[in-house]
Symmetry: C2
């Protein structure tokens, strides 16, 4: 045995002795530590877009050999790719460039809404690779039929993805109602009640494409999924606490606090569309009266404006049609009234308006901003404070659903690799 090895031992003994005198945290599970570090390295490369081993090591505080070992595993698993070129813009020696793979694990995102279904496949670099939307009235069909339709669209999207050598790491379902445990508890605008959406969708997809049997499914309210899309791939910058409102047939809401969705005790938080803006107002499908949705939902807004659709409404408002302008001002006022309550409760940095609202902002914003300014106690919501923002064009619930799948992969790549759903290369057994 070499002197070096003995010296290594002696150091080891000293450390152990310290450890025995010095209580430490309950020992971390070794494979747990490696899993954690594998995720840390993958996320670091993902966030950087492209980087080197040396830059990753500097960033995460692990040794260069440790990072190299983790990178090798991520390359073998198909999560990362390296390109021949080198660059030296970072500290340390120039190295091979590392990037997330644009083949292999991908997120399948499925949004089922009242009048459309959208399916997306997003790769590990965060790029949309496949997107199919079908406009159809989902109120006219029963729940199993709607979910079977969505599965058909998803199956076709997966075929297109396979041609691009993308393999779904899981599927996220964005649903327009209260969702918990894979089931839509209630979706008033679809007339759904206790619909086991994950099971129905999964069964239909497996029938069409048997290879998807066992695909991990996750589901949530579409407003929550849209808020996640905004958080992870929108243009909010450092903004991490916001209220997200989506104008569709209904009005969906989601709350993001310090970068996390606030889901509540049962997963039903964020129902801004059912805040009461006029206690004696019109009956809502939820059973209450005078909910925001009855004034600012797409159906209510088009009815009040006598418009045939959102493009027609935009056209009429642009040409100064009085009825359209009055309907939009009233919707803006009611949005402001409900949102002042949400802001007084949650003290967000911003309110983000998505769905049909971004294109209607010129006409909604004045009354909305005035209500917020008048009613928010903190005084932080003056009209010029820039706290009212349209959602990014690229974000919607299907993108959030796909991103949620990728988020899970990035958080624990080992778990995904263990399912055997990898890009073709088996784990190399190192570890």
């Amino acid at each position: 045995m070499s002197a070096g090895a003995v010296s290594g031992r002696a150091k080891g003994a000293t450390r152990l002795s310290l450890t025995m005198n010095q209580p430490t945290e309950p020992k971390a599970d070794k494979s747990g530590v490696r899993r954690h570090n594998l995720s840390l390295v993958l996320r670091t490369v993902h966030d950087a877009g492209e980087t080197t081993r040396a830059a990753v090591a500097a960033r995460v505080g692990l040794t260069r050999p440790a990072v190299s070992s983790l990178v090798e595993q991520l390359l073998d698993l198909g999560f990362l790719v390296e390109s021949g070129k080198t660059f030296s813009g970072q500290a340390g020696r120039p190295g091979t460039v590392l990037k997330p793979a644009d083949t292999g694990p991908a997120g399948l995102g499925v949004e089922i809404n009242v009048d459309y279904v959208t399916v997306r496949v997003v790769d590990l670099t965060g790029t949309d690779r496949v997107r199919h939307t079908e406009r159809l009235d989902n109120r006219a069909a029963d729940a199993p039929e709607v979910l079977a339709r969505a599965a058909r669209i998803a199956a076709e999207a997966l075929d297109a993805a396979a041609e691009r050598r993308l393999v779904p790491a899981g599927a996220g379902l964005a649903l327009p109602g209260l969702v918990s445990g894979g089931t839509v508890r209630q979706a008033p605008n679809l007339g759904w009640h206790e619909v086991p959406a994950e099971r129905l969708f999964g069964d239909a997809l497996t029938t069409l494409r048997p290879g998807t049997a066992g695909l991990a499914l996750t589901s949530d309210n579409e407003a929550n999924m849209a808020a996640l899309a905004e958080l992870w791939s929108g243009t909010l910058g450092d903004l991490r606490t916001f209220v997200h409102l989506t104008g569709e047939i209904g009005v969906g809401g989601a709350l993001v606090v310090h970068g996390e969705l606030l889901r509540g005790a049962h997963g039903f938080a964020g129902e801004i569309g059912h805040l009461v803006v006029d206690a004696e107002g019109p009956r809502c499908r939820c059973g209450s009266r005078g909910c925001l949705e009855q004034y600012a939902g797409q159906a209510a807004l088009l009815r009040a404006a006598e418009a045939s659709g959102v493009p027609d409404l935009v056209g009429r408002a642009g040409s100064g049609d009085r009825r359209a302008l009055a309907a939009l001002a009233e919707a803006g006022r009611m949005l402001g009234r409900a949102l002042s309550g949400a802001v007084n409760l949650l003290d967000p940095e911003a309110v983000v308006l998505g769905g049909i609202y971004p294109q209607l902002m010129p006409w909604l914003a004045p009354a909305l901003a005035e209500e917020l300014s008048d009613r928010v106690v903190s005084g932080l919501w003056t009209p010029d404070a820039g706290r009212l923002r349209p959602a990014s064009a690229a974000t919607d619930a299907s993108r959030g659903a796909a991103a949620l799948v990728l988020h899970d992969v990035l958080s624990d790549p080992s778990a995904y690799a263990a399912t055997g759903a990898g890009a073709g290369t088996a784990p190399n057994g190192r570890g």
Copy 2:
């Protein structure tokens, strides 16, 4: 060197070698680990009330010698005491009983409200040891005068505490308004605006009792403090996500999500008293119209009932006075309307009503429960679901303020010991 020690070294070498091949988390700071474990042991004894070293070791997953070393330090610092008796109800050998000390570090809690000031001193066992309340109209004095009064009451309470050998580990200020950075940004019911409350209180207290110079101060909205008191020493059991409403001159609100106060982006979350229940209703002091406070705050309620005070209101309602009953039913309805919004947004497990509300529940609850049942989308808020609860009798904002101080001590006893404010015995330098 004994064979045992050599064997120890050999083991150490093996471990080190594994560690070198196997990337680990960035190394934890050794003194950081000991600080963390010191807190872990102290909290474990605190939560148990009384226990033994063996039971603590079993609970926290540290070795018995490690726990003994930490316990010795906590005994030296005056955080724990041991009693001579032994018991064997737990796993392991019977041992000396360990308890939190009822002398030494204590929390000073000060609530300044519109018409009273309450000061408490709470010891490490969680027991109230001193409590002074003075009823006085704080609207009639300017802010520095009100804070000087509070400091005088606090100084007297600290004298009483010193007789019981209690030393303040810090002071918590509960204030009726929007609080951030030690300053009351706005307190509409006191007419305060940008009042540096911590500084004014601290200066006044130091003038009266120079020994308190450097005492750590913390401040928050009184509703947040009351919610913390309910969370930490109320009767909520496992309930960890709730909305807390406090009826005072104003209506304070606080949101607790998974056991943490939801403070929002600037610390202004929870303003349930300013949810709009009637957009065209009476002007509120906050500048808005038709806020909940204008219907269910103490001042509004007494005015509507033509009652001289809360006891008078309770008496009138009990004897069937129509005006009192109508005012209470209306307040209940408006509470229900605002709370349905809060519940739709946050999906809590329960709503807790404190301040003047618990004694008014028989008359408030029917209309309140009906509104919740009609307006909460999830359908979980049927009148018989038991989700509407009066606050515990023993909890209020001054108790929460004291508990917040103790919470800080329990989270990092080393930091407190380092201030030299300990119970008299210096740290023994072990470490």
